[in-house]
Assembly symmetry: C2
Homo-oligomer: 394 residues x 2
């Protein structure tokens, strides 16, 4: 069976062929202090001395690295050619480039995508210094498109890991719904869910203090702010945004619970209508998803449901990619607002995993936000989370 | 009382005055995905949109960042001028540069020091794009010297945190010495020390699987390799290399224990002589340390003791800096070997914290390595660890 690293390295070769780029060069050093975010995808260990990973359109998989780390590299089974060096990488790197004689050398910088921008400027200067006087200095190009495709298109192993993270998240949510009672504070709910992380042996999918986000009722500020001493009250919405990191892969899910007012057996019309609108917006986004569609088109489909129902539009993107990070790469299900740059114009690709997370405020009751995780398939979409289609009543 | 961030920002201003550099610009984005390693020293939170921290020789402390993060920036109390923006940082950054009109703009790239090389090449291009057509593009210089001084010279709060990490390490070592018995494997000792990390609520100072390094007897390979199923035997040395991270600051300490052979009440001459040689080498290094001395001179003092006693020289540096990372910055107590570049030529400065860790093999008995943590003071040196001056016998 192929390991994840072997899968991703093979996938990278396929992407080079598809994009007709001769060579992708990942150049790093002392990654325990400062690591190119692509390294966990194609290598999976730290590299200490100056090291170079070379993948070619023709299928060569080469790594040049310090002697003491050569055995680790061989054991990945992902690199057919492991070239250890003792004193300086320069000569052996130049020899290898001369042999490959690539038309383009893609390196890891990107103006648009932080996750494709792992080459530090000092290392870039070192590389240019090595290449001075060769024809290769002029052949450096950005690897942005390669990295976006490699990170975005999840392999079967990656999808299985995201599914496992989603499954644990669902179990933790079920316990949290049981646990939550009127009078408990946002902080108590957060503490309970943090305890569940330990119980399940998983990590938080994003910054610990804000995972979960807990909003008890209409006075709790929305957005990425830590839980407060506000208490859950009857006649209010409890909104939760939570995800776990399991085997390096993340989930990201929002759920809503309504605490019935005393002597009532159903929520008020305003709450039901808000819930139904968000569910319909999610379904509209899901229905719009298939390979080739643009992110902004999916965003518009969900956003339209919310605004046509008379609510103000939400001031964030409908969804983002999910994977090794909770925000996993540039392509976005978002509107063409300046702060999103060109990322809503990227076409969807099979194998990408996105969140769908429209939301709205129900005045006097609280924030109604639901978030599902979905896989783009060849034909359309598959929900990885069990979508919330009924308002949970307590 | 000043917080650590306030202390370090003030220290940075002093360093700019000392080095006569008008402006230090730290330029970042989405640091939760990929963070400039200097950010925890001068800011202490993540920054999401393109953000700029500007510190000047004249003492101005300015941060330009996305609206939603402005309140966090104000609460640091370290920045007198917090400039939030909504759409694009470009105009406000250019306005600020024109007002300051600096002769030099130091930015975070470095060929030599990974910890001073936090500016990605993509962000560097963005910055050059902003500065095109202004006089400032030509004034960019490396901030390597500023960052090396800022990271190296520990403030009182930083030294107190390292002391606290050393103190916990010492306590964990004491329990481990009690716990260790002949017949136990390296893995069991490692597991026990990992459990102590949880008990004390601290992290490992470096990669968890290799912290501690445990070497039971002469057949255990030296170097940064994980613990094995080798068992401790009587008549052999147990060597441990371990450190903790507490409140973001690290310790890094090696200790040796000798398990007396049956019916013996003292170790053999070879073991005693090896131990005494390493202790003397550490004392020789410590005696050589004072501000202005070069790292290679301290290295030579320790190395000479080992080689003059007839042992082969150790194939690594005598010591490295310690702080927020276990390997904390470029200046090194090392020999002028090619792989260390120019870093053994840096002069020592008061406030730096170094390890001292000579070692030697005692054939047939095991690896004899001791590591102490020391502070460079105005007059010389202070041991932060309680130095091991007696071989622990069990």
């Amino acid at each position: 069976m192929q390991t994840l690293i072997q899968e991703k390295v093979q996938q990278a070769i396929n992407i080079l062929q598809e994009k007709d780029i001769d060579l992708w060069l990942t150049f790093v050093r002392e990654t325990s202090a400062f690591a190119d975010p692509v390294l966990p995808l194609i290598y999976g260990h730290d590299l200490t001395w100056h090291s170079a990973i070379l993948l070619t359109r023709k299928g060569e998989r080469i790594i040049i690295l310090g002697t003491f780390e050569a055995e680790s590299a061989r054991r990945t089974g992902a690199y057919e050619t492991v070239i250890p060096y003792d004193k300086s990488i320069k000569l052996v790197l130049l020899e290898t480039l001369r042999r490959l004689d690539p038309r383009q050398i893609a390196v890891n910088y990107s103006v648009n995508d932080v996750l494709a921008d792992g080459l530090s400027h000092g290392l870039y200067r070192t590389l240019c210094d090595y290449l001075e006087g060769t024809p290769y200095a002029a052949r450096l190009v950005s690897a942005e498109g390669i990295i976006a495709a490699l990170r975005g298109r999840k392999t079967p192993v990656e999808v299985a890991r995201i599914r496992a993270a989603v499954e644990v998240t669902d179990q933790i949510y079920q316990s949290a719904f049981e646990y939550a009672q009127p009078g408990m504070t946002e902080k108590q709910i957060s503490q309970f869910m943090h305890d569940q992380l330990v119980k399940f042996g998983v990590g938080a999918a994003w910054e610990y203090d804000g995972c979960p986000i807990v909003n008890a009722g209409p006075d709790s500020p929305a957005g990425h702010i830590g839980p407060s001493d506000l208490a859950i009250k009857r006649g209010q919405i409890l909104h939760l945004d939570f995800g776990v990191r399991k085997d390096d892969y993340c989930s990201d899910i929002q759920r809503v619970v309504y605490f019935l007012a005393s002597h009532r057996n159903k929520p008020p019309e305003a709450v039901t209508r808000g819930f139904d609108t968000v569910v319909r917006a999610i379904q509209a986004a899901a229905a719009a998803i298939k390979p080739g569609v643009l992110g902004k088109e999916v965003d518009a489909a969900a956003r339209r449901v919310v605004t046509q129902a008379g609510y103000p539009e939400y001031m964030y993107a409908t969804g983002h990619q999910l994977g090794r990070n909770a925000h996993d790469g540039a392509a976005l299900l978002g509107p063409l607002w300046e702060r999103y740059g060109d990322t809503p114009n990227y076409p969807l690709e099979a194998g990408q995993v996105y969140t769908i997370e429209p939301g709205l405020a129900v005045p006097g009751y609280g924030y109604m936000g639901i978030e599902e995780d979905v896989l783009v398939t060849e034909k359309g979409v598959e929900f990885l989370s069990q979508p919330q289609l009924e308002l949970i009543l307590r």
